[in-house]
């Protein structure tokens, strides 16, 4: 829904995403415990945190794939999911919610391309069906986007014929075809083989360089450090720490952040070693790494738990 967001100058001042005190529980289990977050236009925010910290849930709340129990989320001045009539909130209809989602692109961990449609059909589907764009126009734009993500030669392939990295790039093109104001990425590279991660991150980096506002849930530290304007570290449903990547990743203030980051570093190092060992065929080294990995994981998890307990007791 096109919303009057005032003149250009105030539009720049108002954050694109404005979330206040967002809470969410699944079957009594509180996953989000009051999240506040503002994302400016053109900003790239990376959400970090251990699994179960609520970062994916928060991302899904922004485009209403999950409904929130408390708090408010505004995207570009629109209150998501509700209409405020003189102080009373009214639920929006399914159609109105669908209209709000048009402005927000999303990429999923498992790509979720439509398997019964070709790559081109996947990309043109929403513009034609939702926005009513002319077929020829949608096609031209889709081919342009596919070119942009490096898949200009694959318009007639089916998703099952593509590698994971290619599928995720198609998914990005599909989301971009709606000309979103905001892109959400939910662990876009976690389902990929290591050698395919780079091609997806490159597309995302280009997108960030082009000025797209992005919220990214990822474990890719390199991406967070180089591309993010801001890193938000979440744990157990709260924002523990946030700031520029140089501060949060390289000089974390909180014990929980430090424990998580050291674990990530160990995993990354072990991963690199494992790749080298695989390539050189060093079976003994591989076994040793696997053993060390398992031990360090336990230790790291214990460290995170300790840190969490300590902060909660305080």
């Amino acid at each position: 829904m096109a919303h009057e967001s005032g003149t250009g100058t105030t539009a720049d001042a108002v954050p694109l995403v404005h979330a206040v005190n967002v809470t969410k529980a699944f079957h009594g289990n509180e996953v989000l415990k009051g999240i506040d977050m503002d994302v400016r236009r053109g900003e790239v925010v990376v959400l970090l945190g251990p699994s179960g910290s609520g970062k994916t849930t928060f991302l899904r709340c922004i485009n209403q794939l999950e409904t929130i129990d408390g708090g408010r989320i505004w995207v570009d001045g629109d209150l998501m999911g509700y209409e405020d009539r003189a102080g009373t909130l009214h639920h929006l209809t399914d159609k109105q919610i669908a209209a709000q989602r048009r402005e927000i692109g999303m990429c999923f961990q498992r790509f979720n391309l439509f398997p019964h449609k070709t790559v081109l059909e996947n990309v043109v589907e929403a513009p034609i069906q939702v926005k009513g764009v002319k077929k020829s126009e949608a096609r031209t734009r889709a081919l342009q986007l596919l070119e942009q993500v490096g898949l200009g030669d694959k318009p007639s392939a089916y998703p099952s014929q593509l590698s994971g990295g290619q599928q995720q790039r198609v998914a990005i093109a599909r989301a971009l075809a709606m000309d979103p104001k905001l892109m959400l990425f939910d662990e876009p590279t976690s389902a990929l083989d290591p050698e395919l991660v780079g091609e997806v991150l490159k597309v995302m980096r280009d997108l960030a360089d082009g000025g797209m506002t992005m919220i990214v849930v990822t474990h890719e530290m390199g991406f967070a450090r180089e591309v993010a304007d801001r890193v938000v570290f979440m744990d157990a449903g709260v924002v523990v720490e946030e700031g520029p990547p140089a501060n949060v990743i390289d000089n974390p203030q909180h014990a929980r952040t430090r424990a998580f980051l050291s674990r990530m570093r160990q995993e990354e190092a072990a991963h690199a070693e494992a790749i080298v060992a695989t390539v050189t065929g060093n079976a003994e080294a591989l076994a040793a790494i696997a053993k060390a990995d398992a031990e360090s994981e336990e230790a790291a998890q214990a460290a995170i738990d300790n840190a969490r307990d300590a902060t909660q007791q305080r």
Partner: protein, 314 residues
Amino acid sequence: MTSTTQDRPGRIEARPVRHPWRWVAMVVIAVLAAMMVSSFLTNEKWNFPFAFEIMQQSPVIEGLWKGTIFGTVGAMILGIGLGVLLAVMRLSTNPVLRGVAFVYTWFFRAIPRYVLLVLLGTGIGFLYPVFDIGVPFGQQLGNLLGLESSFTFFTLDYNSISSTIWVGILGLGLSEAAYMAEIARAGILSVDKGQSEAAQALGMPPGKTMRRVVLPQAMRVIVPPTGNETIAMVKDTSLLAAVPVIVELFYQSYQFGQRSFQIMPGIVAATLWYLIVCSILMVGQSRLERYYGRGFGAIPKKTQHKLTKIGADH
């Protein structure tokens, strides 16, 4: 050729496992088949030439087209359309729609088709020779207000259609819808939740998500059992005589046999026609399966492994 000049084992040339019981089974079947053929040829009551003649009689052909094939097509169109609608209702968030779909399925699955056809053909015509569509208690309301009008908008003389193929199609279709609803529901539930999430994230309203994304993929699961249902429906059209509709394959060929005191050729003629029609349908079914299976070629093993791993992690 096995090579003894090298130490390393060469090409495998092993003796196959013997299957003596296959030969025994083949002999037994051959003897039984010979006995059948001999009975066909020597027992004159079979009278195959007469059966072939019955097959070509114009009342039989007319019964085949206007009763069996038209009835099957009509009943399946009604059954599939209504069945998919019921399945969508059953899965909807609206409790009224859910309840209606449940009660419908419960009722029509419990009624034998033969009984339903008698009920529609004879019973309804006995209860309501004329259908008046209008305001409930319209006649009484009209009297009460002292008006001529009985608030009837539409009148249908049921007895004029009660013995036509349309009532047969209605009965078989209503009954079929109850089974198709279950098949369609299983199909819809088989589609990964990520698919509708992806469609929603692109701004598609729920109805369009169902029509454009979920149902086409559900078809892959729906088509094979629907083929079975269609083949079963071809055979169930022989129940049309209960309506009574006598322009129908079995009734017509059986009558030929009875009138000429040659029962068996009449039954054989119908049997052969049923075999032919069902064989053609089986070919059509496998084509449809291939069409709706497009894009579902084998996913590369690596991706599949990775995906199951993620599934297990969550």
